[in-house]
């Protein structure tokens, strides 16, 4: 059983949703980013998405764009991101970690080498924003053959006709992008989320995580009542952007993570 499967199964037994946290690797610098990463599980993160920085994050809003710029300015690259995962795994063997980003850095690294190195480093899955199922052969197929989960994004524009194509070959969990927009933009109505989850459940048994625009413990709790996972990214990253020092960044991110975790854990009680 993969770490993602194990984690979602365990949480299902506890009757609660997962808190899925996103940060960009190397933001604002390697050491601080690693400290945040290592602190996330204790602060209540159940699943970690670690962003691979890219110069042209076309599906991201301002918060994550700036996180990418900060990380790249601090000389983060894919090799260092994999190294960060290795260092994280030295002290953590059960929190699933998913790399998220865009295809070009992986393409440049070389797909076979990337898959091998990601596996070895302790990566559990991949989310690659600009690889729709039309391009499964590029990465999703070989990654899954090597035992890495490939998590798909589904969106409000993914209709019933297209949904099977998107879900076929998804593994780990399904990430529902609740608004048509960039990361960090406005949030969906509860009605919309409820209907979307119901629609997805008709098509898949995979856990469903919901993201985009979730910023507070209350909001996270509301989503946690409906879905199997709640994804928070931009709100956490804002604490890095607004921090006056590294220590403030670590404290800010982990502090919000703890609040969100409390919201998610108390949601169905």
């Amino acid at each position: 059983m993969s770490r993602l499967q194990a984690r979602f199964a365990e949480l299902k037994q506890q009757n609660r949703a997962a808190l899925v946290t996103f940060i960009t690797a190397g933001d604002p610098g390697y050491d601080t980013s690693l400290e945040i990463l290592k602190g996330l599980p204790a602060a209540g993160a159940d699943v970690i998405e670690l962003g691979m920085p890219f110069t042209d994050p076309m599906a991201d809003g301002p918060a994550i764009q700036l996180a990418n710029i900060r990380a790249l300015a601090a000389k983060q690259d894919l090799k260092k991101t994999l190294q960060m995962v290795r260092q994280f795994r030295e002290g953590n063997s059960d929190t699933p970690l998913v790399l998220m980003g865009y295809f070009n850095p992986i393409h440049k690294y070389g797909v076979p080498a990337f898959i091998a190195d990601a596996k070895e480093a302790g990566v559990d899955g991949l989310i690659v924003v600009d690889l729709p199922p039309e391009h499964n052969v590029d990465l999703a197929d070989p990654a899954q053959a090597a035992g890495l989960d490939f998590i798909r994004l589904t969106t409000p524009t993914t209709d019933d006709k297209r949904l099977p194509k998107v879900l076929n070959g998804s593994s780990g969990f399904v990430y529902y992008v609740s608004v048509a927009g960039v990361t960090g933009s406005g949030s969906a109505t509860l009605d919309h989320v409820e209907q979307a989850v119901a629609r997805l459940r008709r098509h898949t048994d995979l856990p469903i995580s919901i993201g985009f625009g979730i910023r507070t413990a209350e909001h996270a709790a509301t989503i946690a009542r409906l879905a199997d996972g709640v994804v928070v990214g931009s709100a956490l990253i804002d604490h890095i952007a607004n921090a006056g020092s590294s220590q403030e960044a670590v404290k800010g991110v982990l502090g919000l993570c703890a609040e969100l975790a409390e919201g998610v854990r108390g949601a169905r009680k």
Partner: protein, 405 residues
Amino acid sequence: MTQTSYRTGPDATGLFGSFGGQYVAETLMPLIHDLAAEYEKAKEDPAFLKELAYFQRDYVGRPSPLYFAERLTEFCGGAKIYLKREELNHTGAHKINNCIGQILLARRMGKKRIIAETGAGMHGVATATVAARFGLECVIFMGTTDIDRQQANVFRMKLLGAKVIPVTAGTGTLKDAMNEALRDWVTNVDSTFYMIGTVAGPHPYPAMVRDFQAVIGKETREQMLDQEGRLPDSLVACIGGGSNAMGLFHPFLDDKDVQIIGVEAAGHGIESGKHAASLNGGVPGVLHGNRTFLLQDDDGQIIDAHSISAGLDYPGIGPEHAWLHDIGRVEYTSVTDDEALAAFHKCCRLEGIIPALESAHALAEVFKRAPGLPKDHLMVINLSGRGDKDMQTVMHHYDEQEEHI
């Protein structure tokens, strides 16, 4: 397998060999499939084609002349040089050929809002123009660096009723404008039609924009047969994303005796690292929806392009060009900022035509090649745009360039 035709691509998945494709976020995939399906229908629809032909003729001013450049020819003392006068089109460049096609498609699809990216501003102006003509809301994304060097075009877009949104990300050039346009599109999926200005982006854009621009090559073929009784020996065009070049080249790809030359922007020189020559100085990668040659570092991070010409200042190139480069059907060369400026001045003085700095890159290649060719060699240059927009840039370089004049 032998290649029987170079003109059948892309395949059903949008690939030219291993280039092209549909590398976009899931939110956009259904839209792109809709667009591809609608375009397939439209291009077989006589009513659509009739309307397109009407606007090409009476609104754009087509056909554009194929003009024998006698003085340029005398000066070079070799090949007989013809200019395909795309700069005479309404709005002053080839860009409108594509915009007219896409706006008719947008209207057919019931879209109410048009967005576009622009570099030099020519695509922005052409987009704003057709949006005004058809009464649709228009938003143009333009990098702040480009806004600074293309003030006149920014004002033209505003006059035409478009909203110009400055993009500060990155170096504030075309690549960043395209990122921002994609972000807008993801956010406004229902109402909005994204009018990409070049033969790049996810399928069907590279093929669709090429088809709308291919009117350049089709006319050139007929005009040359009419004027010289035979096909040209060589074609030369500048390349940023590559739409004016693809428009000229595509109808000739299967004429194996026609030599085809694309000219990239070498900026300060390929070896300086400050250039926009994706084929000559880049490697394959994935950006803006397609796999193509890109300027990138060892980590796959995109490197900002540099060219004196805002319209060539892009770190990628249309995927069909990447394929034609890969299989060797088209020769891709490059020309520096200084060479382009020198050619710009020569064209002004010899022909009384002020070319766009983009087109001046193609002219610079002609000055290199034409003198060594026989007098019966027929060479066609795509004069893709006029240089009015470049006055500020040329004035800035005027003093240091005076020795060339």
